[in-house]
Symmetry: C2
Subunit: 423 residues, 2 copies
Amino acid sequence: MNIGLIGFGTIGAGVVEIFNTNPDIIMKKTGMELRLRRVVDLDIETDRGVEIDPGILSTDADDILEDPEIDIVIELIGGYEPARSFILKAIENGKHVVTANKALLARHWDEIMDAAREHGVRVAFEASVGGGIPVLRALNESLAANRIESIYGIINGTANYILTRMASEGMEFDDVLREAQRLGYAERDPTFDIEGHDTAQKLIILTLLGFGVHVPEDELHVEGISSIRRDDIEYATAELGCSVKLLATARLNDGELELGVTPTLVPHHHLLSSVNGVFNGIYITGDFTGPVMFYGKGAGRRATASAVVADCMDIAVNPEGSMPTGPGIRVVESVRDFSRTSSRYYIRLDAVDRAGVLHEIAGAFSRHGISIESVTQKGAHEGETVPIYIVTHEASEGAIQGALSEISEIRWVRGEPLRLRIL
Amino acid sequence: MNIGLIGFGTIGAGVVEIFNTNPDIIMKKTGMELRLRRVVDLDIETDRGVEIDPGILSTDADDILEDPEIDIVIELIGGYEPARSFILKAIENGKHVVTANKALLARHWDEIMDAAREHGVRVAFEASVGGGIPVLRALNESLAANRIESIYGIINGTANYILTRMASEGMEFDDVLREAQRLGYAERDPTFDIEGHDTAQKLIILTLLGFGVHVPEDELHVEGISSIRRDDIEYATAELGCSVKLLATARLNDGELELGVTPTLVPHHHLLSSVNGVFNGIYITGDFTGPVMFYGKGAGRRATASAVVADCMDIAVNPEGSMPTGPGIRVVESVRDFSRTSSRYYIRLDAVDRAGVLHEIAGAFSRHGISIESVTQKGAHEGETVPIYIVTHEASEGAIQGALSEISEIRWVRGEPLRLRIL
């Protein structure tokens, strides 16, 4: 089997490193030699820190896409174009595709999978969610006999690193973000990670595999973690026995699918609360297998490359295919509007400490039919701004939004209230 | 695809239940109907609590093994015979086999896999380790590009339930065991689970997949948990920040494979320490993927049946085969004798509290070159028997055994000293 690699960046170099390091294992497990025949990148000058025959480097993707000797194309350039065109051309030319491109799959799933079906080739994408954690194949194949009930995922290492450090070191969000950027755990523009978009794209793929439903990214409810403060995490830990995690959720409720990306309080007794730092965890419940969790490094050169090469090996052994994914296996009738989903909520707001404020706040919750479990106001001097921590009983997102919208209009409330779901 | 099921016990009934409950999912994922054509058991009178056409029940295994219409044989009777003969006959008759039989695979791996290769059929066995946790396929296929460095498994739910309850309720071993038996978490004769034999058989299978090495069960070092007392767990928790777990270990050390089943102190910051109750966790480190953990229900009717049916579905989609396992992928030179493996150790012994005892004990460690990290003797009156808790620095098992053998000869030491490894 001959392989062409498009995208000789961080992960691409990791792929080359695996082929350099473990050729014996690859040979024994597949019964054949998987040969990296061509590596394409716009930049083939930069030293990637791995040994490679310069003769196989090229800047022209067609050296792979048009080479009839190449059986598998690995796409690691990311983004929509030219990745989409390269993948479609590879498929049309009868080549299998291995990709880590979650953005592309989340948006162009049908187009790519339909093309693959039409041309009788495989598109493998284990690396697109959870990096080196073998969660996608497990969800698709090993849990195949189950009706999936729920998927909860901590699937962004940057966000999880920040939340973990805020908790362990008592640091504020901005300080940890700067530290994460210095250590290379966060991008210079971290928006994609900390505002939940990366998590959302991965959730779309998990939802395709678990429920056969393709939700467009712009219809997904996505919240990030940038409004979370140290005192939120301290209150969650000390008073509620919870960790704060950026959670992707896909779960069945009365036959409807509930989806969202939300920072969420996870009780300490739940195994997901022990998924710390840059690690990822995906917690899946099937009707027969019960809860299972997958844990590991969700990103990084070596871990992600491990998933990419395993996909190549799987295609080499099973070129005919794996179990179908996507709309063909749809088992859910409808997706519930996020405003109709419900949860217990943690709410924190800042208000001037004076008589009557709590009464006004409580009134807003009451008018929206929300029942309060606890209210805590840290002592302060009359007239100072203090945080108020509220925990509600089960309430709908719509009701919470309505109440918070009223509350932010109250004269003595400062800034935007924060709401976090409680798992 | 027609399926024959031999063994209509607990898990067999779970298998029937999945085919009754999720036929739509099975059809969508495989693109075909998987039909349970025949169910064989010696007892076909007992009500198993699942709906089944009485016309497909039989007491004669040949009704499956000799039926040319049957493509897949599920073996769920367990044990060596007649399971082995049934499986070999199924293979000879060109049928694929799905089994949860860890004892049989651990002992007769080569015979069964050679026969399957010869006859071009598959033997799938996801349910044999970790019940509903999809760890075996992940290890074999999803981590296929890795050189596996270590596998640590909590893979016996009974033992883990007992250790968890001892810790959370401050109970003694015998009391929890009785409770576990009452709740159905422990067998009436619990030896197989609590003395580590079940864990050992599963470790043999994990070692075949991860390292391509087949270790006979009688060459494996196996310790159980029945000598562990409440005060050991209390000391481990409070003084050492560890949980006690019955751990299967397979790890590379200087190119040699170290194997064993040992009760082990797992630090609280390690995710394995959060695997509680009847749950299982398998923590695997590959040279590229880094550490990954798989968590879920390691036993039980529904979870185990989930793995069995997923194997049937996988065979239906990929009858040609999966990646090879076993000696063909061997990547390790030799297995290290357990006495040459090393660890930090926790040691607890009971001794009469009198001058000179600690000196004698310390002398034994010293003569075997073992360096002591801490010694704690709970206060008592002169002449009473009290526990002494010792933590060593890294020492070889052989040295520890030598020292403990000397120590148990000391006149003032009562009973057998307990030693637990520290992860």
